[in-house]
């Protein structure tokens, strides 16, 4: 870690990031009741991503690490690919209207429950 920053500068950096993260946490809390309430899930995940990015870049010192950044991006690409494909599959659930898995369990009866 060859850098030219002084101890004070680096420490200030840590506090700045902490401030940002705290601010975002507050946003997380007020969002569901204040704005964009139709898209809570998306907004929350977006905030999470921004927070994660800050942590990775500054607390985990990924800035300037080419090789490590590349490996992380590769891993994230794979995870997102898995997500996309599995979501495509679940959104095209075949014959979901008649399947048990997609609907509520109505008949209680445990392992001896019978179908149709």
């Amino acid at each position: 870690m060859a850098n030219t920053k002084t101890y004070e500068e680096e420490r200030l950096g840590y506090y700045k990031v902490l401030g940002g993260l705290l601010l975002l946490t507050v946003v997380t809390f007020i969002q569901p009741t204040m704005f964009l309430t139709d898209a809570t899930f998306g907004v929350q995940m977006l905030i999470g991503t921004v927070k994660a990015w800050m942590i990775v870049m500054y607390y985990m010192h990924m800035k300037g690490e080419k090789l490590i950044t590349a490996t992380v991006i590769f891993a994230l690409f794979l995870v997102s690919f898995f997500f996309v494909i599995v979501m495509i599959d679940v959104n095209n659930f075949q014959y979901g209207d008649v399947s048990h898995i997609t609907s509520e369990i109505t008949s209680a009866g445990g392992s001896s429950a019978s179908v149709h």
């Binding site: 870690m1 101890y7 680096e10 420490r11 840590y14 506090y15 902490l18 993260l21 705290l22 946490t25 997380t28 809390f29 969002q31 569901p32 009741t33 309430t37 809570t40 899930f41 929350q44 995940m45 905030i47 999470g48 927070k51 994660a52 942590i55 990775v56 607390y59 985990m60 090789l67 490590i68 490996t71 992380v72 891993a75 994230l76 794979l78 995870v79 898995f82 997500f83 599995v86 979501m87 679940v90 959104n91 659930f93 898995i101 997609t102 509520e104 369990i105 209680a108 009866g109 445990g110 392992s111 429950a113």
Partner: protein, 232 residues
């Protein structure tokens, strides 16, 4: 392994130019790279669990919102802040170590351990409250197909909630162990201003634990926040 200090080898090409050989000993970047690769496996692991979660979120949207709204957001949010500050103390400790302030570094590690214990304590309070409400792994409410069962979407929500926060808590416990070990190594002067790769990696580990929580928290506590004020 040899106890004498490691002297890097020199390789010579045909023109007589000399090149320092990277040995496995004292390879700071190698150690860092290795730990990052380890963290990628954690990303894949939690990624797969988030995938399971999202799969059923798609199938049982309303159940998930309902279940989420019943979690205690005050305690969850408090824990978020606790982890945030602990990541700061951990990072500052490393900073102090790099500038030679060993005492300050140790103080920061103790502070982090304290915060970690607070986190676990709050978690324990939450779980106890949920247990008293009959919502816990293995209890009838979370067993499908029984008369007292919750709707399936809620069962999977709580099942995954306990699995994932449990796994996260396990990581915290491991982290506390690592930090105690780190303190021992600092006292033995095996981690110091020049050789702090172990410290560096444990800081990375702690940030990873934080990172997981950054997604676990909104996914469980916040998606149903708009529905009610929540809290047991």
């Amino acid at each position: 392994m040899s106890d004498h200090p490691y002297v890097p080898e020199i390789a010579t090409d045909r023109e007589g130019n000399e090149y320092e050989v990277q040995g496995w000993q004292g390879d700071f970047f190698g150690g860092k790279l290795g730990f990052w690769l380890f963290m990628l496996t954690e990303i894949m692991m939690f990624g797969a669990m988030f995938m399971v979660l999202t799969y059923y979120f798609t199938l049982h949207h309303d159940d998930f919102i309902n279940a989420s709204s019943s979690l205690n957001r005050t305690l969850g949010g408090f824990n978020t802040v606790v982890l945030l500050i602990s990541a700061l103390t951990m990072g500052l400790g490393l900073l102090k170590m790099r500038y030679g302030d060993v005492k300050g570094a140790k103080l920061m590690i103790w502070a982090t351990i304290l915060l970690a214990i607070v986190f676990l304590g709050v978690k324990a309070v939450e779980w106890t409250a949920e247990y008293n409400h009959g919502v816990f792994l293995g209890l009838p409410a979370l067993q499908g197909g029984l008369p007292e069962s919750k709707p399936f979407g809620e069962i999977i929500f709580f099942g995954m909630y306990f699995t994932m926060t449990g796994l996260h808590g396990f990581h915290i416990i491991v982290g506390i162990g690592l930090m105690l070990w780190l303190l021992k190594r600092i006292n033995a002067n095996q981690v110091n201003r020049e050789h702090y790769i172990l410290y560096f990696n444990i800081v990375l580990y702690w940030d990873l634990v934080h990172l997981i929580w950054v997604f676990v928290f909104p996914y469980y506590y916040m998606i149903g926040a708009g529905l009610s004020t929540g809290g047991h």
